[in-house]
Amino acid sequence: MSIRLLSENMINQIAAGEVVERPASVVKELVENSIDAGARRIDIAMEDGGRVLIAVTDDGCGMDADDLALAIERHATSKLPDDDLQHIGTLGFRGEALPSIGSVARLTVTSRTAVGDSAWSITVDGGDKGAVHPAAHPRGTRVEVRDLFYATPARLKFMKAPQTERNHAADVVRRLAMAHPEIAFSFSDGARSLIKLAPAQGDFLSAQLDRLDAIMGNEFGDNALAIDAERESIRLSGHIGLPTLNRGNAALQFLFVNGRPVRDKLLQGAVRAAYRDFLAHDRHPLLALFLDMPPELVDVNTHPAKTEVRFRDPGLVRGLIVSALKHALAEAGHRASTTVSNMALGALRPRSESGPSGTVLPLRPGGGAFGGRTAPPSSLAEAAAEYLAPLDQAHVSGTFGGAAMAPSAPAPAIDEAPALEEYPLGVARAQLHETYIVAQTANGIVIVDQHAAHERLVYEAMKKAMTEGGVKRQVLLIPEVVELGEAGAEAVTDRAGELEALGLVVEPFGTGAVMVRETPALLGETDVVGLVRDLADDLAEYDSALGLETKLADVCSTIACHGSIRAGRRLNGQEMNALLRQMEATPHSGQCNHGRPTYVELKLGDIERLFGRR
């Protein structure tokens, strides 16, 4: 067979194979065009999962007749004015989207510029270009794609159910909308409107939070910490969720580079590193991060769909993300997410909302079937007295400064009022079931899980001791040689200094192997080969010694677990208050080592709602 040049249409169809993978990619290309055109409002309509129609309408700068005719040609774009791939400021730049779409579907573009006296329209039908003709349209551009993939039946067969395709497209729109809070978005599938976002107001961070709130749910907005950090002309902004707000997968983690949604392993690794201490390994936080950097520091031209990027200095970016996240989490101190108290409220609220009788009946003395379960008042009082006993004793002995707090002594409680407001976690009132501490704050109550809270305090103290005193190292009698392959061995030996600080001393041993001379004494007799192999994998994948840090942290947390007070231990008033004060003073004390909350706060308003007073 002799070699021949492919026809233009063939080339476009092949390009379409990369760019137009499914209806969602059409939506992505068109919406990016609209954003690049400076639109303030973008409306997307879809029918039958995009198989019948995808229409994107914007109020951007529009095109005149000449531009329109060129726009549908391959490698024609207005976005690379200087032929400079180093400084890409727009989302698109390849000049492939419209011709690719036109080669596999029936494409109609209608557009009018601000200065033009009429709109123009052009149609491409499976690669056949029509003529530019006048049309009626307000300022902006409308792109209609009908019968997607009719020209490539093979691809048509790979289309999933309409709902699936629609959800993918909606996902794409949400991601783009997050990065552009100033633009109004709407998305409908013909029958109903799936996304309706008004342009967000206010400064960048608050506008962004409004938009994230609208997309990721109110829960996120209530529990988000703002991030704003800058290092060497790279700016990181965005919002991250508190660790106690977490999910089973990483679907709600978003990274945007110069307004472009990207998926990057670097983000996963950095997020894991930053949240390592607060979440169990199978839980993932919610967050949206926006990186703004000069275009020359990042290469977006690595993939036709542009979902991956390359950073010139990935270490710097990673370092920026990890330190900014850690800093924000440390500042959050003992804050636990409001979801926790909302969950608690949800659990407390009477089940049947149907009628008042349903909730009142069981409370009536001797009321029907519930009568038998109602404890006689005397035993209740006894039980209460037992729980309060330690406090009373403390009060009597006078050592519990103004303690006051015992309910039987209302007068001193008034003196104590300013102290109540001083402490975010309030003053301990009682211990219930020898497990939970109930404290009164200025405007609510706090319930603390004593074991989880103390475990965290012990763990934080151990970590502090470890960073201050250094990790002790056991020298090996027989140094262990670990085969890693050349790349792995190099990665490990490059980080030898950092690893030594973590207690692991390695040195190069020929090509492709390292020799381990000393290991962290904390780990005792350990599987050195496995440890170093995992470490090399971590370094390759996330560019950090996560494995070793995690292992050390694991040992610390086991020791912390055994070294902390357990549930079932009776605490007196002073002990409880001391625990609360320590929690306030210790960073990250709002969650235990596994991301569960250590305390729940109920505001007075919440409690009033429980009783139907609000």
């Binding site: 103290a461 151990m462 001791a465 470890m466 005193g469 002790k472 190292r473 056991q474 020298v475 090996l476 009698l477 027989i478 262990e480 000393e518 004494a521 904390l522 005792g524 007799e525 350990t526 599987d527 050195v528 080969v529 496995g530 040992v555 020791i559």
Partner: protein, 372 residues
């Protein structure tokens, strides 16, 4: 099979054999002990497929035969029967049960067919010699603490028993190490051991053997090939597989040029280490040794900044030095030294330290320092 046996004899044999039987098994018959009653004897056989133990006791055999019954249940029953009781075992019925009768107690246990019981083929054991039980005990005692439990380095999960020589005298040497410390103990080479291959005896075998020879006087005869080892003593035969691996060239890590030598009273030293280490709350209880002429200062710190020091008089002439150790490792070693004083030979704070009983050169210990 129908026999009558004294409870004391049966209990002793069962105590020995049941301990190799694993609590949980995927192959049901491995939970069982096999009884064989030829003439005038009962032999009990248990195995975990790596170690096989056979013990033979006197019994009054009414009819010969063999069967297998759950080992732990059997042991439990016999243990709870009164002292001095006579036990009758009867498996002659064809309902697959063994009936145990003693006094007014009666138990019926489900049997599994004895022909299904795995037999460990020992093959030929070309090398054999005998060792005094007392010597074997002391050899095991002084090395077993250093056996590694880390399974990825399986070749360290046992004691390396081999022929060697020192100062021109042939010796039988046992070595164990976990990569942090090493213990080496030797005996004059017994007759017949010359030419034996170096073998690694697994940890479980070592511990079982140690229990079995606890009260034995006289000799233990040892027979081995390069895959199996057999110990025979006092009516019991223990056969074990060996670890198929190469023990590292330990000779190279035993320092020979350590010129800083410290002699210290063993008991005084161990007690001081134990006291000082009480302060360090961490897992890796580190102690620091500051040695100067004639004086040793032991010290330890906790992350909370508590500290402890204790001075111990020593014989030391070299330059001042500071070295850190895991206190548990130090105590493990000093426990094995029964003489009055121990000699520490050191080079520097990062090199192996040699520890020996000043009055007994048959054992030596190597300990790696800790960086504190």
């Amino acid at each position: 099979m129908k026999i009558t046996i004294d409870r004391g004899l049966l209990l002793k044999a069962l105590t020995h054999v049941q301990s190799v039987v694993e609590r949980r098994n995927t192959i049901p018959i491995l939970s069982n002990v096999r009884f064989d009653a030829p003439n005038g004897q009962l032999s009990l056989n248990a195995t975990d497929m790596d170690i096989d133990i056979v013990e033979t006791v006197e019994a009054d055999v009414a009819s010969a035969g063999s069967t297998t019954v759950p080992a732990h249940t059997m042991f439990d029953i016999v243990r709870k029967l009164p002292e001095g009781a006579q036990i009758e075992l009867d498996a002659s019925g064809d309902d697959g049960h063994l009936t145990l009768t003693s006094g007014r107690s009666r138990f019926s246990l489900t049997c599994l067919p004895p022909e299904d019981f795995p037999v460990m083929a020992s093959g030929e054991l070309p090398h054999s010699f005998s060792v005094a039980a007392e010597d074997l005990r002391s050899m095991v005692d002084r090395t077993r603490f250093a056996i590694s439990t880390e399974e990825t380095r399986y070749y360290l999960n046992g004691i390396y028993l081999h022929e060697s020589e020192r100062d021109g005298v042939a010796v039988l040497r046992a070595v164990a190490t976990d990569g942090h410390r090493l213990a080496s103990v030797e005996l004059p080479l017994p007759e017949g051991a010359s030419g034996m291959p170096g073998v690694i005896v697994p940890r479980k075998t070592v511990l079982e053997l140690r229990k079995l020879i606890d009260e034995i006087d006289g000799d233990v005869s040892v027979a081995l090939s390069d895959t199996k080892i057999r110990f025979t003593f006092d009516g019991a035969v223990v056969t074990s597989k060996l670890i198929d691996g190469t023990f590292p060239d330990y000779d190279r890590v035993i320092p020979t040029g350590n010129d800083k030598s410290m002699e210290v009273g063993c008991k005084v030293f161990a007690e001081a280490v134990d006291r000082v280490s009480a302060i360090s709350s961490e897992k890796s209880r580190a102690v620091k040794l500051n040695i100067s002429k004639g004086n040793l200062v032991l010290s330890a710190n906790s992350p909370e900044n508590d500290s402890a020091t204790e001075e111990v008089p020593v014989e030391y002439d070299a330059g001042d030095m500071e070295i850190g150790f895991n206190s548990r490792y130090l105590l493990d070693i000093t426990q094995q030294i029964h003489g009055d004083s121990a000699r520490f030979s050191m080079a520097d704070a990062a090199s192996p330290t040699l520890v020996q009983d000043t009055g007994d050169t048959s054992a030596l210990y190597v300990l790696m320092p800790m960086r504190v």
